[in-house]
Symmetry: C2
Subunit: 340 residues, 2 copies
């Protein structure tokens, strides 16, 4: 039996308007006698009044909900991101409606449609990232989008991501500084924002050090574990195998680790390994994995802030923010020992 403003009005003898003003309007535009405020407030708590955001949303055209779409909630990366979004959104009185697109463009489109029907005030989206036509179709000035993690180069919305190039460069330089020259990269899905950045950073670091990157040292085509496993096996079978490997994602690194163990190679003694992305369990692997940590929480937080800013000031210029990742050195890279 939820109670409404008019229930309180009836009980107190005041009008619905007055009750509404006492309970919800904190701008001091209306003068209400202290005494009546008290009466109304006490009756409200007595009846257990819970404001109806649905009704308010209809009237004000603001639901105080934001929509979130991520490509895979079961991925700790996105889960952590959603957690930080939730925390930041709550601070401003927003709730989040979460959708999982399951790395599927069609479900992504469905999700957008649903969120639009729910009249969310804005949308944070970590897009699947291959196609984008369906995104354009829903762009409207009414409901702002903020892109997270997975960007499109020429998109004109607010966006937050991580400097993939920088992270990859740092990781690669770390290998180079440890004396490695024959360095391979296990890449993710070609054409995606993340992969392109990471491969580019890798190449830059190699070029800066004056090392040629051999074509056969660039292997893989997917961010999954199996790809890391197969890619590593492939590398190890070469007549001139690499002494160090840079994995473009943590699942890839797990696959690499499996392959190396299966070949009875010890990390870092026989092969050095660095990975992009630093999942929580990385310190507990053996050896603890050297990894590029992404500022995930910060990304979620910034995303919410950008969205809130746009809701306040819809005409402000869109911003694109690149956060800095950080190389965390643990024990999976050792100086190269040159065979005597």
């Amino acid at each position: 039996m939820t109670c409404t403003l008019s229930d309180i009005a009836r009980q107190t003898g005041f009008s619905v308007s007055t009750v509404s003003r006492v309970l919800h309007d904190n701008s001091n535009r209306y003068k209400i006698r202290e005494e009546t405020k008290e009466v109304i407030r006490s009756v409200a708590t007595a009846l257990g009044y819970t404001p109806n955001k649905i009704a308010r949303g209809l009237r004000l055209n603001r639901t105080h909900q934001m929509g979130i779409i991520v490509a895979d909630l079961a991925n700790p990366f996105f889960a952590t991101m959603v957690k930080s979004i939730s925390k930041e959104a709550r601070k401003s009185g927003y709730s989040i409606v979460v959708c999982d697109s399951d790395e599927n463009t069609h479900l992504e489109e469905e999700s957008i449609k649903t969120l639009m029907e729910n009249r969310v005030d804005g949308l944070l989206i970590a897009a699947v990232g291959v196609e984008r036509e369906h995104l354009e179709r829903f762009r409207s000035d009414d409901v702002p989008f903020v892109f997270l993690d997975r960007l499109y180069d020429d998109i004109s919305d607010d966006a937050v991501s991580v400097d993939n190039r920088k992270g990859a460069r740092d990781a690669t330089e770390h290998l180079i500084q440890n004396g490695h020259r024959r360095i391979a990269i296990l890449q993710g899905l070609p054409g995606t924002y993340a992969n392109t950045g990471r491969v580019t950073g890798f190449r830059q670091a190699m070029a800066d050090a004056g090392i040629e990157v051999r074509d056969q040292y660039v292997v893989g085509d997917d961010f999954g574990t199996l790809n890391g496993f197969l890619g590593t096996k492939h590398l190890l079978r070469m007549e001139d195998p690499p002494t160090a490997i840079f994995a473009a994602g943590y699942l890839i690194a797990l696959g690499a680790l499996d392959a190396l163990r299966e070949e009875h190679l010890v990390v870092p003694r026989d092969v050095a390994l660095v990975t992009f992305d630093d999942p929580g369990f990385a310190p507990h692997l053996s050896p603890p994995l050297t990894a590029v940590e992404q500022p995930i929480e910060q990304m979620g937080e910034m995303g919410v802030k950008l969205l809130l800013r746009r809701l306040r000031d819809p005409s402000s210029a869109p911003r694109r923010i690149l956060l800095e990742p950080r190389l965390i050195v643990r024990e999976s890279v050792a100086p190269l020992v040159v065979p005597a």
Copy 2:
């Protein structure tokens, strides 16, 4: 410029009622001429009509949103659960509003309040699980609760969890069958539903095998990594250290692994290790970890189903479902070799 039913009505010359019936009512209670249906539908798509669920929610007193509260979204366990909830909910046209209580009773209460204000149709909650008074306070027949994973023994709502006792028994029996007698348990937070069940299962298995469990073999007080680390260190310092360890959660197991490595003990040669909970990376640890896998997806799915059933039929008897976990044998347990 979102378009409404009345925009379509104006364009087509029909009344709002008729437009509404064509676009949303698929019960054949009203007869509408085929021809007018077509006209209305085509104008609707031409104008890009998006139904306003807020308005509809107000009228029908149904938002088609369900609220989810989990204790920690960054925990892969809950992330996976939310993912499966999202999938199952979408099938029935429901969206999910997600809150993270951060293992904090006060935030949990706040979350419930927010979700109530949002007028979600029902609530799925993986509770923090120590206190419960705040939960009772919000119990109402209007908004049904379904408890997930973390239950209270005497609660009268629908609930789904996992058979912790059975899982712990299976794990312990596996150790016993491998010849172990001196078996320790690293427990989680005492007093929580999960911990109690797991400890009980452990004790049952030991009792059934006629092995006495020594008090000093039951250590720990928290589900975190540090607790696993410290607990293991403690066990290893004993004059009569255990030959096998059962960890009540995966973070505990990670800590145990760290401690064992630090002591230069090799799993499973020197110490056997089983854990409750089977995170995705368990197969990639060295050694691959033998673990009790929980049917997480199924739990989310069942939770949604229970909630939907109750929404359809509010007076049906509450059900409490216990799902079966499954021991996955990998390589962290070996037969005990008795020193000659």
